[in-house]
């Protein structure tokens, strides 16, 4: 009310407009600075950009050269599920980047994702005992690795029998948000 009684001077008007404009810059800047670390932390947990290894081709990812070896599709008698065992390998170039927490998932054209089983299902241990003895992706990096080592790994999944063409998705915490797709 008082402000309407005493008209502002042109100088005051200019200062007011300048401050109002500065707010437009200062508020978004404060939000960006305040949330920067959270955004970066969120980003490092996401799988955003893919490196795709075509069939029978290798790809460089997270300090190693990755390659799909074999995919086994096994029917457990008396069970509606399909046991999928994926064998893959990585030749390490940078041990520091390779020794990291590893996420693995199987996916098909429907974009559904199957996470690996903790234990290889019994049919897998009978039919592919070599695969059952291989380390899983997360446990492969527990042992010390050096440059030039080739680590052979395997993961097993339980899927519906009608699953189509499958891709293996691998992501390491050192390389996320980039992830690897083994076709």
């Amino acid at each position: 009310m008082m402000a309407t009684l005493i008209p502002p001077t042109p100088k005051e008007r200019r200062a007011f407009r300048l401050n109002a404009l500065a707010l437009l810059v200062a508020v978004p800047l404060a939000v960006a600075v305040g949330s920067y670390e959270d955004v970066m932390e969120w980003r490092s947990a996401q799988e955003l950009n893919a490196i795709v290894a075509a069939p029978n081709k290798s790809a460089i990812y997270a300090g190693a050269e990755w390659r799909m070896e074999r995919v086994h599709r096994l029917n457990e008698p008396g069970s509606a599920a399909l046991v999928v065992i994926v064998e893959f390998e990585a030749t390490v170039k940078d041990p520091a980047a390779f020794a990291a927490a590893c996420n693995v998932a199987l996916t098909d054209a429907s974009k559904r994702r199957w996470k690996p089983q903790l234990l290889t299902p019994s049919i897998g241990r009978r039919v592919r005992p070599e695969a059952a003895e291989r380390p899983r992706c997360g446990s492969a990096s527990l042992k010390p690795v050096k440059a030039g080592d080739t680590i052979k790994m395997a993961e097993s999944f339980l899927t519906p029998p009608d699953i189509g063409d499958i891709d293996l998705i691998v992501s390491l915490s050192t390389a996320r948000p980039t992830y690897l797709v083994l076709d």
Binding site: A105, R113, L158
Partner: protein, 197 residues
């Protein structure tokens, strides 16, 4: 004079609006509470990351776990409610660990934790997309909490802004209590079947 009256009435209006906003503001717990999906026995209910159909509710005086020829008996001073269901993940493998029985008084009974080695229990089964699986939920209840109950199922015990299934249990009155619900372990790992006597 008119200007002064306009200013005062504007102020009163602003205070009124702010007071109304303050009084109707939902609490943090309300904003983040689970989003209910309602249904009844036999309905296929969709949560954000899993689907579940409760197929049958059976009341029993005792539950027996049979492994080979060995039997383990679980007695209760109340009643056992055995809920059979079919569940699957939707987009990504998931484990659904929270289910409770909400009785007519509003009390919630979490799933019994007396069965450490029972096969087929909902929280111990990893659900896969496209692979529906038979699961069991076992509740130990006082007799007066059985009728007009709702079974609540969610992925985690605290499911902020996630779905919670609300399944009407509709247990017929008078209560039909069976003698034994027997879970028999199968020959392969994780295999089981349920018999009611």
């Amino acid at each position: 004079m008119i200007r002064v009256i306009a200013s005062i009435s504007g102020l009163v209006l602003a205070v009124g609006i702010l007071y109304a906003l303050q009084q109707t503001k939902p609490g943090y717990a309300d904003i983040t509470k689970p989003i209910a999906v309602h249904g009844t026995i036999g309905d296929r209910l969709m949560a954000r990351n899993f689907e579940l159909t409760a197929t049958k509710v059976t009341l029993a005086q005792r539950i027996v776990l049979r492994t080979g020829t060995k039997e383990q008996v679980f007695e209760t001073t109340g009643l056992w409610a055995v809920v059979e269901a079919k569940a699957a993940a939707r987009h990504e493998s998931v484990t659904v660990i929270a289910a409770s029985w909400r009785g007519p008084s509003g009390s919630r009974y979490a799933m019994s934790q007396r069965f450490s080695t029972m096969p087929g229990l909902l929280p111990s089964e990893r659900l896969e997309p496209g692979l529906p699986r038979n699961v069991l939920m076992l509740f130990e209840l006082p007799e007066n909490q059985v009728k007009d109950a709702t079974i609540l199922v969610s992925r985690t015990p605290f499911a902020p802004i996630d779905n919670e299934l609300h399944i009407k249990a509709n247990v017929p009155i008078p209560l039909f209590v069976r003698n034994v619900a027997r879970v028999t372990r199968g020959s392969t790992a994780g295999d089981w079947r349920l018999e009611i006597q």
